[in-house]
């Protein structure tokens, strides 16, 4: 990057299925004020504001215009970003590019979704091709169900393995005061929850949440002057998939799919050869349990077909050697426009040592986050404690 970029502060709302007490602007404003306070700055000092949110998921269009008073963008440069589940990470990515380029010194990035207000399913069906796939669009659920059936058929994993992911996420969420599904569940509970789309059960899927997240990015000079615990964005990579090629769901695909391509590029940039050792914590975007197991493999935390062994051995537990989603992840909280930003913000909290109850019990110097969205693409972000890490 041309200039180093740091996260100098952030904040989030609590996440819940119902937020009748606030309108969209009021909800966004909660996260914005927390982020500004955390960064020790005010709206007047912010150079530009980027808002991430899915178009029409709230039943309204152009939230960047609607929510000016909530975001604080009045009279400032601003952009709206809409890229599916990746939105939150894309927004940070765009913000980081703006700071790295030297155009702005301080950029506020916001992601939010008030899912209860809209018809996410109907609007999402618009992602599918009108002639080719819309009439049998199985939504995200159908996609991840096929990923699960492919995973089991090829690698020999069982439903118990996905249940382990379901339990880990919700037990971690219980340690995170902001999480939506703080469930004290067991593997039995997960295996007995209602079947939605074989092999995906109720507890294998993410909830529909309302919530917002915001982070403040700054250039190196500002960050060092203003912030006691800046978290550095060391690398960001994005990779797209081809709209019609659905083989990202098949664990035996031979193609270099988006996730592997993106991780490969990011690792090369940082000189990472053993990601499981290089990074101290991971926050991945897992809308379904099976997706987390596939992330283990696509990120190279283990070999192909070995992801379910990691969860089986507890390797990715909050106190394991490769902690994944100590926050509870997307499985516990999915306010779409904020979800991918929450991955980055939660990873930053881990590096700062400010994650509270879900702080991983080891020295965290480097963290890695992923996102998922649209017709399958990803934004990956590597964070570090110092510029030497």
């Amino acid at each position: 990057m041309k200039r180093n970029v740091a996260i100098i502060g952030g904040g989030q709302t609590y996440h819940a299925a119902r937020r009748h007490d606030v309108d969209q602007a009021e909800m966004v404003n909660e996260a914005v004020r927390r982020a500004l306070d955390d960064a020790g700055t005010t709206i007047d000092e912010i150079d530009a504001i980027l808002l991430g949110n899915m178009e029409f998921f709230e039943g309204v269009h152009m939230t960047d215009c609607w929510l000016v008073h909530g975001t604080g963008v009045y009279g400032k440069p601003g952009l709206k970003i809409t890229t599916g589940g990746t939105v939150g990470a894309t927004t940070v990515c765009a913000g980081a590019h703006h700071v790295a380029s030297g155009l702005f010194d301080k950029v506020l990035c916001i992601g939010f979704e008030k899912q209860e207000e809209g018809d996410t399913g109907a609007i999402l069906s618009g992602v599918a091709h009108p002639l080719w796939g819309r009439s049998l669009a199985g939504a995200a659920l159908g996609y991840f169900a096929m990923m699960g059936s492919s995973y089991m058929a090829n690698w020999g994993a069982t439903e118990e393995h996905s249940a382990m992911v379901a339990v880990k996420a919700r037990q971690n969420a219980r340690k995170n005061p902001y999480a939506h599904l703080k469930l004290d569940i067991t593997i039995e509970d997960a295996l007995n929850s209602r079947m939605l789309s074989y092999p995906i059960r109720m507890l294998d899927m993410c909830p529909a949440s309302n919530g917002a997240c915001a982070v403040v990015l700054a250039d190196e000079k500002t960050a060092k002057k203003r912030c006691k615990k800046p978290v550095w964005i060391r690398a960001m990579e994005t990779a797209h998939n081809e709209q019609f090629e659905l083989d990202w769901r098949f664990v035996d695909t031979k193609r270099l799919i988006f996730s592997k391509a993106c991780a490969g590029r990011l690792y090369k940039k940082l000189g990472v050869t053993k990601p499981a050792e290089y990074f101290d914590v991971f926050e991945v975007y897992e809308p379904a349990t099976w997706a987390e197991l596939v992330w283990y493999e696509d990120l190279g935390l283990c070999g192909p077909g070995e992801g379910f062994r990691l969860i089986e051995k507890g390797m990715t537990n909050i106190d394991g050697p490769i902690p994944v989603n100590p926050s509870g992840g997307v499985l516990s909280t999915n306010c779409i426009g904020a979800s991918a930003m929450l991955r980055i913000w939660e990873a930053a909290l881990q590096i700062r040592g400010d994650a509270g109850g879900h702080q991983v019990p080891k020295d965290v110097r480097r963290a890695m986050t992923t996102a998922y969205g649209g017709t399958n693409w990803t934004v990956m972000t590597a964070l570090s404690k110092t510029l030497n890490d």
Binding site: R19, H20, D21, V22, D23, Q24, A25, E26, M27, N29, R33, T42, I43, D44, F56, E58, G59, V60, V68, H69, G70, G72, Y74, G75, K114, E116, E117, G118, D119, A122, I123, S125, G126, P130, L131, R134
Partner: protein, 151 residues
């Protein structure tokens, strides 16, 4: 092109139907409840800008202050600008012709867009003094004010 056969361009007509429910939040709920139950119109006061904003909101868009105080505005107001709508559109709530006006209620610093009825199209003008006509059945939305009319 080596294609022998010509294929007609293929088009399909489809539609997407989406349901939604918008929540008015803290300030919005106060406004609509006061309108529905007491036929009072509220604005939000920004102490820093010393302005009264309609619709009421929790943050001042200009100075970013948190707003908690509401004040009663109107019910009388002044037409700031208007238009006579003479064409029909499915999204319009009424059949043409009708008047849309922006009305600055007494005590407010921002205008409210609403219908203006009981006035000849020739006689409507900027500066016209108007008052609201409330709906008999009020449900907590902006049509609890049915329309404005001249004094």
């Amino acid at each position: 092109m080596e294609e022998i056969k010509k294929y007609e361009p293929f088009e399909v007509d489809q539609h997407i139907t989406a349901q939604s429910r918008y929540y008015a939040g803290r300030m919005g709920s106060r406004f609509y409840i006061a309108l529905r139950d007491q036929q009072k119109i509220l604005g939000a006061k920004c102490p820093r800008c010393n302005k009264v904003l309609w619709p009421p909101r929790s943050t001042c868009g200009v100075c970013f202050s948190e707003l908690t105080e509401t004040v009663e505005i109107g019910p009388l107001g002044t037409v700031e600008t208007f238009t006579v709508v003479t064409y029909n559109e499915p999204v319009q709530p009424r059949k043409a012709p009708f008047i849309y006006a922006v009305i600055k209620l007494d005590g407010a610093d921002t205008g409210m867009a609403h219908f203006l009825d009981e006035v000849d199209f020739d006689e409507v003008h900027i500066g016209l003094r108007v008052r609201p006509v409330y709906a008999r059945e009020r449900n907590g939305n902006i049509l609890d004010i049915q329309y404005f009319k001249p004094l």
